[in-house]
């Protein structure tokens, strides 16, 4: 899809640029405080859930706002899947409150299910049924009349590029095609909130791009997206907000601040590598901060201001710079510093 396509759509909102740095949910941030329960989007307030003696979710509080894509990030076993199951109205929390588009999954699960589309990580499909039958059935299970469910299924099959396989049993679908079918299934009833667990796994580059466009469009039209993934560079592209979870809790406060202040590597490339390494030493960058890797220099810098300063000095010194960019994205950097802080 090109931007020209988008412009041709009258009334379509402009996607929110992905380059905006993600905003990290911080439960200790005084201004934000505890999210109001009547807020739209996804509200999670002091939610806890244990399985026997295992505390899968100790205490999570955050607010995924409508109109934005929120990333849910954390190491394996951090409680992400348990949280998503609670948000999907399948699992009851032991304590705390959840609101999906204003509805309480404990009190009114049907309202939550009407508003929410869910794409689990391991997708079960009715293997003998065709994608078209699956989508039609899901639509009807959501209460759509048969004709409307069929029309919606045909629409989504085109969107998921499954036309050629629409009438074959779904067991012949590849992993990536299954993922596309799973996303289509989550969208059948036009939900306002999307819960996605590793949606990009197994997708080819084209499909990833389409997924990104789709999620941005969804958010731009006022929808709420919560996306759990380990593909941090992918999240950096899509997500505007991020929630870090670790050992059943939302990471916030000092740990998050420290993690974000941690030094970050910048990747610098120049037409003349020798001049680059010489000038880096010459303009006063400490030698233990520089790592030369072939033609590329990696420089660890604490702040963005430092990066701007280094770039200005290199240009002033006449180094022909061709590339000057963070080696890792914001989300990845924060995640890695947090993970590093645990050890």
């Amino acid at each position: 899809m090109t931007s020209g396509d988008r412009a041709a759509e009258p009334g379509a909102p402009e996607p929110i640029p992905a380059s905006a740095p993600p905003v990290f949910a911080d439960p200790l941030d005084g201004a934000a405080g505890r999210p109001p329960l009547d807020a739209d989007g996804i509200v999670v307030d002091e939610v806890a859930r244990s399985f026997g003696s295992v505390q899968a979710v100790r205490q999570m509080t955050f607010h995924a706002r409508p109109g934005r894509v929120t990333a849910l990030i954390g190491p394996n076993g951090a409680g992400k899947t348990t949280l998503l199951l609670m948000l999907a109205s399948l699992l009851a929390p032991d304590a705390g409150q959840i609101r999906i588009a204003g509805a309480d999954p404990m009190r009114d699960p049907r309202a939550v299910r009407r508003a929410m589309g869910w794409m689990p990580d391991v997708l079960g499909t009715w293997r003998t049924l065709s994608p078209r039958q699956i989508l039609t059935t899901v639509g009807r299970l959501h209460g759509m009349p048969t004709a409307a469910a069929r029309a919606r299924a045909d629409e989504l099959i085109v969107q998921a590029r499954l036309e050629e396989l629409a009438r074959r049993p779904s067991r012949v679908l590849s992993r990536g095609q299954q993922q596309r079918l799973g996303l289509a299934r989550a969208l059948v009833h036009r939900p306002r909130v999307l819960l996605l667990d590793e949606p990009a796994a197994g997708l080819d580059p084209t499909s990833r791009l389409e997924l990104r466009e789709l999620l941005r469009g969804f958010a731009a039209a006022g929808g709420t997206v919560l996306i759990s993934s380990h593909d941090l560079s992918e999240l950096d592209e899509i997500a505007e907000d991020a929630v870090f979870v670790d050992r059943g809790e939302v990471v916030g406060g000092e740990r998050l601040v420290l993690a974000r202040q941690a030094a970050r590597e910048w990747r610098i490339r120049a037409l003349d590598p020798q001049a680059l390494s010489y000038q880096l030493a010459h303009i006063g960058v400490a030698f233990d901060r520089v790592r030369i890797d072939g033609d590329v220099a990696h420089v660890a810098l604490d702040r963005e201001e430092d990066a701007a300063d280094v770039l200005a000095r290199l240009v002033r010194a006449g180094v022909p710079i061709t590339h000057f960019a963070p080696a890792v994205g914001d989300i990845e950097r924060t995640y890695l510093s947090l993970a590093g802080g645990r050890r």
Binding site: A12, A88, L91, W126, G139, G143, P169, E210
Partner: protein, 370 residues
């Protein structure tokens, strides 16, 4: 991929109207979707067709052999052939249905498809009842493939229509009971293999367990009784023997099936035989298999008979009660047995509905929900 396709609130009017949850029609419509989903999966599985074929061949083979070997008898074979067919269908469906229903819910859990239905507007009861109905309808296929043999027996003559009208609904209901128990257990037990085995154990409990229980209990409840001896005075002049009740007594061990006969009431074959109104022949003896089994089971309700001179006519001939009299003074039990079956099936379904309800508070150990 066009933007409006995915826009969550692009056009409120085009969004599906919230389904009418309270309306019975809407409720049934969603139930129908679940049944349709179950059936759509089954008609695409090869196993189901193979089983149908096997059942048709087995039942057809037995009936044909039976027909050929009974042809020498000069009587109407229709009733006997029909009874055979019905009992065979009952046997075969009770052996196949648990395999079709015993993993309905936990199999879906393992496949990850249960959660996809749970996050829709379908309620737990619609989901479980839909699976019961789907499995029931699929198992009725086994009754359907045996219809030709029943039609053939009708053409042979001697078939009583009241037997058909009672037998078919009872077989249909029994298949439903087994389907419901299988689906219910698959919701209550986490592992598909275990729930299927337990469903089979329930079938065995009804069909064989009731017989074993009855046999064992009959022996356990036997009593020692003191009986008066009777003797025969033979008059040499007239050649007549006269029955005389003597003062001598003897002790004997008496089996007491009359105390435990109710155990047989839960046996599906007994239910079938007991429910069909018998037809007594000229010798006041039932003239079809259903009636003969029914009489045998009814006779067990009678307390042990104490022999006395009243049993004999002056000529020394036995003049006890006729089978017809015994049948008519004992009580029918088939609806009690059927009631027990339906109650067990309802309990299993109710338990499964509670287990499928989401959001779930409690999970069975080691279970996955998505």
């Amino acid at each position: 991929m066009s933007r409006t396709d995915t826009a969550p609130m692009a056009d409120e009017a085009s969004r599906p109207a919230p389904p009418d949850a309270s309306g019975a029609l809407g409720w049934l419509r969603l139930l129908g979707v679940v049944v349709g989903l179950e059936l759509a999966q089954r008609v695409r599985s090869v196993a189901w067709y193979v089983l149908l074929g096997v059942v048709a061949i087995v039942v057809g083979g037995v009936i044909t052999v039976l027909f050929l070997s009974l042809q020498g008898y000069q009587r109407d074979l229709g009733g006997a052939i029909f009874a055979m067919t019905i009992f065979l269908v009952m046997l075969v469906t009770s052996l196949v249905t648990p395999a079709l229903s015993g993993n309905a819910i936990n199999g879906d859990r393992d496949g990850g498809t249960l959660a996809s239905t749970q996050v829709t507007q379908v309620t737990a009861s619609q989901l479980v009842l839909g699976k019961v109905l789907g499995s029931w309808i699929a198992s009725l296929g086994f009754l359907a493939v045996c219809t030709p043999f029943m039609l053939a027996s009708a053409m042979l003559g001697g078939l009583r229509w009241e037997a058909v009208l009672v037998a078919i609904p009872i077989v249909v209901l029994e298949i439903g009971v087994i389907s419901a128990i299988g689906v219910g257990l698959s919701g209550l037990i986490r592992r598909p293999v275990l729930s299927t085995v337990v469903s089979y154990l329930f079938v065995a409990l009804f069909s064989v367990g009731t017989l074993i229980g009855f046999g064992v209990a009959t022996i356990a409840f036997q009593t020692e009784e003191e009986r008066q001896e009777i003797s025969w005075d033979y008059d040499e002049q007239t050649g007549n023997a006269t029955c005389v009740e003597t003062d001598r007594t003897y002790t004997t061990v008496v089996a007491r099936p009359d105390r435990v006969w109710w155990m047989l009431a839960a046996n599906p074959y007994v239910i079938l035989a007991d429910a069909i109104p018998p037809h007594f022949g000229g010798d006041s003896y039932p003239d079809d298999v259903f009636g003969q089994i029914g009489l045998g089971v009814r006779g067990l309700q009678e307390p042990p008979h104490v022999e006395s001179c009243a049993d004999y006519d002056p000529m020394g001939g036995y003049q006890g009660d006729s089978p017809r009299e015994i049948y008519e003074r004992t009580v029918p039990s088939w609806f009690v047995g059927l009631g027990i079956h339906v109650a067990l099936a309802a309990a299993a379904v109710w338990g499964a509905i509670a287990a499928v309800r989401a959001p779930a508070r409690r999970l069975a150990p080691g279970s996955r929900i998505a």
